[in-house]
């Protein structure tokens, strides 16, 4: 049975698209056929982060309107077998994403894929609401920073009340916390909320902690999902998160600062 995962956050710029690309690529690499769907109508970017922007012909709205079928619109990833991208439309008409249309496309994707990753736009408006509505699981991307944590809590409230699962009184959406842009050095100094702090406030299981890393920008510059950069800290952290999502138990790495001799002498 296919599962729909929404990658959401409320706040913008916390790493939803980076996470969607990484999660999609990681699931596909683990052998599951996966589609990553960009819900950010008007601000298509998933294609760019995943490096398939020049092969986009049709988009999500084209499929909803019947201008193209799903096969024509899905862009096949060239690196990972079984990974596909459904790009968002660049239209400025936000209403183009109709509720019935989204439901139909997701139903069709369920038939073909093991996992469908929905990359939510920022905010809690229509696009974000549609991205989460059909979700079975939610990855709430949060930065260790006050506005992001507050927005994440708001989004958790919506996941509990405004999703199809909530409306039908089924088992609630399974929520996971993914902490990104984490800086262990600043946490050590008491300048940044720790993963325990954020976990305590939001009280949902921690899927992973992605360290603040140059690798993320380097990967998006190149159009490569960062999870495929296996020799980088962020790539490994995402890989661990994907493994945990798939039920594997893995210890959290990258929670401590790498310390040199001086750090060990003078640090706490």
């Amino acid at each position: 049975m296919a599962r729909i995962i929404v990658v959401t956050s409320g706040k913008g710029g916390v790493g939803k698209t980076t996470t969607s690309a990484a999660l999609g690529a990681g699931l596909a690499r683990a052998g599951y056929s996966t589609a990553v769907v960009d819900f950010d109508v008007g601000l298509r970017n998933l294609d760019l982060v995943m490096g398939c922007e020049r092969r986009v012909v049709y988009d999500f709205i084209n499929v909803i309107n019947g201008d193209a079928n799903l096969n024509q619109a899905l862009v096949k990833d060239k690196r990972v077998e079984g990974l596909h991208v459904l790009p968002a439309s660049q239209t400025r008409d936000k209403d183009a994403l109709s509720e019935a249309g989204v439901a139909d496309v997701l139903d069709a994707l369920r038939e073909r894929f093991d996992y469908i990753v929905c990359d939510s736009p920022a905010g809690i408006e229509r696009g974000a609401a549609l991205a989460m509505y059909h979700a079975d699981d939610a990855v709430v991307v949060t930065n260790p920073e006050v506005s992001s944590v507050r927005d994440s809590d708001r989004v958790l409230g919506l996941l509990a009340s405004k999703t199809k699962r909530a409306e039908e009184g089924r088992e609630p959406v399974t929520e996971y916390l993914l902490l990104t842009r984490y800086s262990p050095a600043r946490v050590d100094k008491g300048e940044m909320l720790s993963h325990e702090d954020v976990h305590e406030i939001l009280s949902i299981p921690l899927l992973g902690v992605i360290p603040e890393s140059e690798a993320v920008l380097n990967a998006s510059n190149a159009g490569v999902p960062v999870v495929l950069e296996s020799d980088t800290d962020a790539g490994q952290a995402y890989n661990d998160a994907v493994a945990r999502y798939l039920g594997e138990e893995r210890a959290h790495r990258f929670l401590d600062e790498k310390k040199g001799l001086l750090g060990r002498l003078f640090g706490s």
Binding site: V149, R150, D153, G157, E191, L193, D197, L265, F266, S268
Partner: protein
């Protein structure tokens, strides 16, 4: 604990402040979230009624719905200003 911590602990760490502020605002917002839709309107009307008698600020009335098993408890908190014993003159006939 290294000797540098002695200097660091001079002022409250910013992360601790952030956590405290978040816990308060998140608890407050969760309290409102679970409640019925009419809550903000009721809060507003209560404020107007109280203002007929006492001059209070916009945040004087706090409503919170708590769940305890099968029943809900509506908690109403009104903060009166100091020396609020005399009625507002505008409220007099």
């Amino acid at each position: 604990m290294s000797f540098l911590d002695y200097f660091r602990s001079q002022k409250k760490r910013s992360a601790a402040v952030a956590k405290e502020r978040l816990q308060i605002i998140v608890a407050h917002e969760r309290g409102q979230r679970g409640g019925p839709d009419y809550l903000p309107m009721m809060q507003d009307e209560l404020l107007q009624v109280i203002r007929r008698y006492v001059d209070v600020g916009d945040d004087a009335v706090r409503l919170q719905v708590d769940r305890d098993g099968d029943y809900e408890v509506l908690e109403l908190n009104v903060t009166l200003p100091e020396g609020s014993h005399s009625p507002v003159s505008a409220g007099e006939p």
